[in-house]
């Protein structure tokens, strides 16, 4: 049985009290998740017990460290159902992965007249890199608009696609609206005109099973820190064919075969795309995070956080002074809202007083804020350790905020 209370007890931060002496109700999971003891232990064990650089030394503890590091690659491959270990590249996060694909893959081929499609709900991390590449190369950035409900306008997408479309970059789940996009549809349509697809799975990874083969996408990125794992590490999935044809994501130690003054030949996949010393403790911690998620079951997590989302929407919608942003067909993991007369930062400050951590602001999604015609929202985003009681406490607090600012 899925038991959020038992799960919560594995996260040491919840044993602490906030400075006000109350329990922490953490509802900023879309920004980063808390870390279970087994992830923290995996990091500590590495640093205390077998710290060494990987892929190089033939001595203990270097061999042990390399084994643990590469074991994570296998875990990731299975977790996202990649075809082979060659398709799993470690990065320092979602943003890093996207930037590197823009630099190494898109930039060298992007020319005036080409088009790149993003959505109006993108996080800046999956928007600005493509935009800047288009500006530099004289290509055009197109944006799939949202309908009134906050869904992608799929019809408009179909119209945007044409033979000039080089790439489509889409979030799996919007970090500010919780809208889940139809990745298979978007990918199939893009492929039909010969465009490649990058999926930003930053939000998806901790809420739903990722199956890159079922989606059919060409690239996919996520960060470990949103999956109960450490900061500073992420994954770039790329189809083997693309990863082996494209130039390396960056250059340095560990990704070469032979270096002379005149030229360099590069290592085989995946080493080719991993220059320099990786975030070793981070990768090992990511492995522990995947073990943790697998031990609970991603399907069970999905059911839980979606049920919380539905419950929260139902509750919030009874408070008249609250506006819930978006009313999409498929929403999961979070709710974005506004309280009449109260600035989002004041709302989050009042909730913070009660130990309720939510996020106020533009959520790195300014184009979406422009669409919503607000400067920011209050975002309540769920994780496996949250409960209906947490939502009830948010409702109480929101009612008080409303009354105070009324």
């Amino acid at each position: 049985m899925f038991d959020p209370i038992a799960i919560k007890s594995q996260f040491p931060i919840f044993k602490k009290k906030t400075p006000n002496g109350v329990d922490l109700i953490y509802l900023d999971n879309a920004a980063t998740t808390q870390k279970p003891q087994q992830v923290i232990d995996a990091i500590t064990d590495y640093y205390s017990g077998y710290n060494a650089n990987v892929g190089r030394g033939t001595y203990w503890p270097a061999t042990k460290a390399t084994g643990a590091f590469e074991a994570t690659r296998t875990k990731v491959k299975d977790f996202i159902n990649a075809n082979s270990l060659k398709e799993v590249i470690f990065t320092s996060g979602t943003t890093d992965g996207i930037n590197k694909v823009v630099n190494a893959y898109l930039m060298p081929q992007l020319k005036p007249g080409d088009e790149v499609i993003v959505t109006e709900m993108e996080h800046h991390g999956n928007f600005v890199p493509w935009q800047q590449a288009c500006i530099k190369q004289g290509a055009s950035l197109k944006m799939i608009p949202l309908t009134e409900t906050g869904d992608l306008d799929y019809g408009a997408y179909d119209d945007l696609l044409n033979e000039n479309t080089q790439l489509v970059a889409i979030s799996a789940i919007s970090n500010a609206l919780g809208v889940k996009n139809n990745l298979e549809y978007l990918t199939n349509k893009a492929h039909a005109v010969g465009a490649k697809v990058m999926v930003d799975a930053a939000q998806l990874v901790t809420h739903e099973k990722i199956d890159v083969q079922a989606i059919g996408c060409d690239f996919l990125c996520f960060s470990a820190h949103k999956l109960f794992g450490p900061t500073g590490v992420g994954v770039l999935f790329g189809k083997e064919e693309l990863l082996s044809e494209m130039p390396p994501l960056s250059f340095g130690g560990g990704m070469v075969k032979r270096v002379t003054l005149e030229g360099t030949s590069f290592a085989d996949l995946p080493a080719k795309h991993e220059a320099g010393t990786s975030n070793i403790s981070g990768v090992i911690g990511l492995g522990a995070a995947i073990d943790f998620v697998n031990s609970i079951g991603i399907e069970a997590i999905h059911t839980h956080t979606r049920a919380l989302t539905d419950y929260a929407i139902e509750k919030f919608s009874h408070i008249e002074e609250i506006t819930i942003f978006g009313n999409p067909k498929d929403r999961t993991s979070l709710v974005s809202l506004a309280v009449e007369k109260a600035h989002p930062h004041d709302v989050s400050a009042f909730l913070g007083e009660r130990g309720i951590a939510i996020r106020a602001g533009h959520h790195c999604a300014q184009p979406l804020m422009d669409y919503l015609q607000v400067s920011g929202t209050c975002r309540i985003s769920f994780g496996i350790y949250n409960t209906k009681e947490d939502v009830d406490r948010v409702v109480e607090a929101l009612i008080e905020v409303r009354d105070f600012f009324a």
Binding site: N20, H345, D346, A349, F350, S375, E400, F404
Partner: protein, 157 residues
């Protein structure tokens, strides 16, 4: 609701936050500063019109929480008609009011109720930056800004 927080948001702050008197652009501004808190996104543009040594006119526009908006409004109110020298003293006084490490009680620093209202942030380190945002900007940048002017990047912001 927590009484301490209510204290902080007491009428002084809410009233000043809603005060529209100084909330406008100043087209004849001689100096434009931007107070920005990357932590939360709060952002105010401060407009000053210097005539001789004095701040003849001042106003602000922008976006932020009740505390930052109220403190910006109070800032503008307090610097109007002041010389740069006086400005410095006013800023320092305010900083002391909100400084939780100060040995002086807020009441021993000033009797101005509007300024005293922000003393509540002494107990709220997370909100201190809200209270000091625009004051910090003026303190850090007025020597150079007031001599040079700076409206860089403002088109987009």
């Amino acid at each position: 609701m927590n009484e301490r927080l209510k204290q902080l948001y007491k009428t002084q702050i809410l009233t000043n936050a809603e005060d529209q008197t100084y909330f406008k652009e100043l087209t004849e501004a001689t100096h434009i500063l931007e107070a920005y808190n990357p932590m939360c996104g709060d952002k105010y543009t401060l407009y000053l019109k210097m005539v001789g040594e004095k701040i003849a006119e001042a106003s602000f526009k922008g976006y932020g929480c009740a505390i930052s908006r109220a403190s910006t409004s109070v800032l503008i109110k307090n610097i109007l008609g002041k010389s740069l020298q006086e400005l410095q003293a006013i800023i320092e006084q305010f900083m002391e009011v909100i400084n939780e490490e100060s040995e002086k009680s807020p009441e021993s620093i000033t009797a101005d109720e509007e300024l005293l209202a922000f003393a509540g942030t002494r107990e709220y380190p997370e909100r201190k930056k809200c209270a000091s945002l625009s004051w910090d900007e003026l303190k850090v940048n007025y020597p150079s800004e007031l001599s040079a002017g700076n409206s860089e990047d403002l088109e987009l912001s």
